[in-house]
């Protein structure tokens, strides 16, 4: 069972503001989709998980400095820029 509170909790974790009228729709859909996912309860526990199909891990390269992207290109898609820096929202209230 998924409650409206669950939907608000998930949306808060995902940082997506929801309108009140969206919540019930998402709640019903999540309940149906998660119920469908429950078929995985049948899968035996004693199987090794596969994170990556070729089982690659820790691919390293030589630590050689390369030319960074020019600052004006890095900033060209930002809407809030100040003194050549990104300007972000406040971390703390007040």
């Amino acid at each position: 069972m998924i409650t409206k509170e669950d939907v608000y909790h998930i949306a808060n974790l995902a940082k997506i503001e929801l309108k009140e009228e969206e919540v019930e729709k998402f709640r019903r859909e999540f309940e149906k989709i998660l119920e469908y996912f429950n078929i995985l309860d049948e899968v035996p526990e004693d199987v090794e998980p596969t994170y990556q199909v070729h089982n690659l891990s820790n691919v390293f390269r030589e630590d050689v400095p390369t030319k960074p992207m020019p600052r004006e290109l890095v900033l060209m898609n930002a809407k809030h820029v100040e003194d050549g820096y990104f300007k972000g929202p406040k971390i703390m209230e007040g």
Binding site: K15, H54, M69
Partner: protein, 465 residues
């Protein structure tokens, strides 16, 4: 449909500039909505270069459409989302560097489901893509624009990306050839990520040979993608009596199965050795795929914060409020649904029940493929379980997810698979999926070439709506 051979034939007697101009006239009058952004000025400039003999390479003078989740330097790249509606990438994806080096002419960026999340291109912020054979039907997704522009004579080549069927589905629905390469064959550098462990960029074309040529160009080493295998690809068609496995667990409705069985009985059985193979893990593949894809999406899409690029609000607020509002306004409904379900699957107390279980299913699916492909050279099945849907037909999300049943097991295992048109039912194309061993695209394409020879006449007779 225009093949490279046909395009080159026309270049013998006409200028590239005139041919490319003609293509843009067609696109600008088109109702397919296959493109989000056109690259007209630059394409015409390159066509002039070609006419002066200054554009060289394997794809010199050939028009290509690029899916809008693949970044193109200086050319708007939206990913089908309001979130990136005005994003101009400051760099090229590896595959874009490669096609440019080989002289291809990028004509535009193709329409797609928002962040590649969909099977019909109906989730695009820029409107649905229409099927070239029936304008009331979808072109498939998520690379719907790439499929439709080929089926509708609006390009010769296209790049797509495939996370759970997003190249093969539109290839099937638009009657073209599309390949999802082995995981790691093509660099993902510059592919806007949705689910990193599942997705690959791949070639789409109007015939098998063109698809193989485009794969030659885009495959190969790139150290900027740490999952890149560093394997090159060269097409060397082999002619042999392939051993073909028909996958018992991959089916479709009567329309699709009728056509598929006709091809199996009339062509495959008479030319090759055929066996039936069973993949018991497939009953878990669809939910496992969606759990992994949604979980990876919830992490990947956390980057859209309205600060560095993408949709932003006029006024900065406190962090949580600003971030949550940007994402509420910038993302569409399906993207929110998948981010939230992925967040749930990864949240405290549910990791073992959903995500870890899905990774275990991935092991089982991989083992099933490895076992079947030890015995068989290739495996075949219908690409999609149904004919192209009417626009709006699949309103319920779960019903839509279930249409990916034949395509997602391939991505879980990371094996390569191609969709090839095998004929028409009720005037709509049907595709067959050909699956092979890791890095054995050559076998798949060689087998596909044999099938193509047999069905070519029926495919070419069909006109476009």
């Amino acid at each position: 449909m225009i093949t490279i051979a046909e395009w080159r034939d026309r270049l013998e007697s006409e200028s590239c500039y005139d041919l490319i101009s003609e293509l843009f006239d067609r696109i600008e009058k088109s109702r397919l909505n296959a493109f989000i952004t056109l690259n007209k000025d630059e394409a015409l400039r390159l066509a002039e270069e070609y006419d002066k003999g200054k554009l060289e390479g394997k794809l010199a003078g050939i028009p290509i459409a690029v899916k809008d989740c693949i970044t193109t330097k200086g050319l708007r790249t939206t990913c089908g989302s309001k979130m990136l509606h005005d994003y101009i990438p400051p760099f090229d994806a590896h595959v874009v560097e490669r096609i440019k080096q080989e002289g291809a002419i990028i004509i535009g960026k193709t329409n797609m489901d928002e962040f590649a999340m969909g099977t019909t291109t109906e989730t695009s912020y820029f409107g649905v893509v229409r099927n070239p054979y029936d304008l009331e039907r979808v072109a498939g997704g998520s690379s719907g624009g790439s499929g439709a522009c080929l089926g509708g004579d609006e390009s010769v080549l296209a790049l797509g990306s495939d996370t759970g069927g997003s190249i093969r589905c539109p290839a099937s629905f638009c009657g073209v050839v599309g390949l999802k390469p082995t995981y790691g064959l093509v660099s993902r550098y510059g592919l806007i990520p949705y689910a990193n462990s599942l997705e690959q960029i791949g070639p789409m074309a109007c015939c098998v040979e063109d698809c193989a040529l485009l794969l030659e160009v885009i495959a190969g080493r790139d150290s900027r993608d740490s999952t890149n295998a560093g394997v090159e690809f060269r097409f060397n068609p082999v002619d042999k009596k392939f051993k073909v496995g028909i996958i018992k667990e991959m089916g479709g409705n009567d329309d699709v199965m009728g056509k598929f069985e006709e091809i199996v009985n009339e062509i495959v059985r008479s030319n090759f050795e055929v066996v039936e193979v069973s993949m018991p893990s497939f009953k878990y593949a669809l939910p496992a795929y969606y759990i992994i894809a949604m979980s990876e999406a919830s992490s990947n899409l956390a980057r859209y914060d309205g600060v560095r690029y993408g949709y932003a609000l006029e006024k900065l607020d406190t962090w949580t409020k600003y971030f949550s509002k940007v994402r509420a306004e910038g993302f569409g409904e399906e993207v929110k649904r998948r981010i939230m379900l992925g967040t749930y699957a990864l949240s405290a107390g549910y990791y073992g029940k959903y995500y870890l279980k899905a990774l275990k299913v991935r092991t089982l699916v991989k083992q099933d493929f490895e076992r079947a492909l030890k015995e068989c050279d290739v495996l075949i099945a219908p690409t999609m379980p149904a004919l192209p849907f009417k626009i709006g037909e699949l309103a319920d999300p779960l019903t839509m997810y279930k249409m990916d049943v034949n395509t997602v097991p391939i991505n879980l295992a990371g094996v390569p698979a191609l969709s090839i048109p095998i004929g028409f039912v009720k005037g709509l194309p049907v595709g067959m999926q050909i699956i092979g061993r890791y890095f054995e695209e050559n076998t798949i394409l060689s087998f596909a070439l044999k099938i193509e020879e047999e069905v070519k006449d029926e495919i070419q007779r069909k006109g476009v709506a």
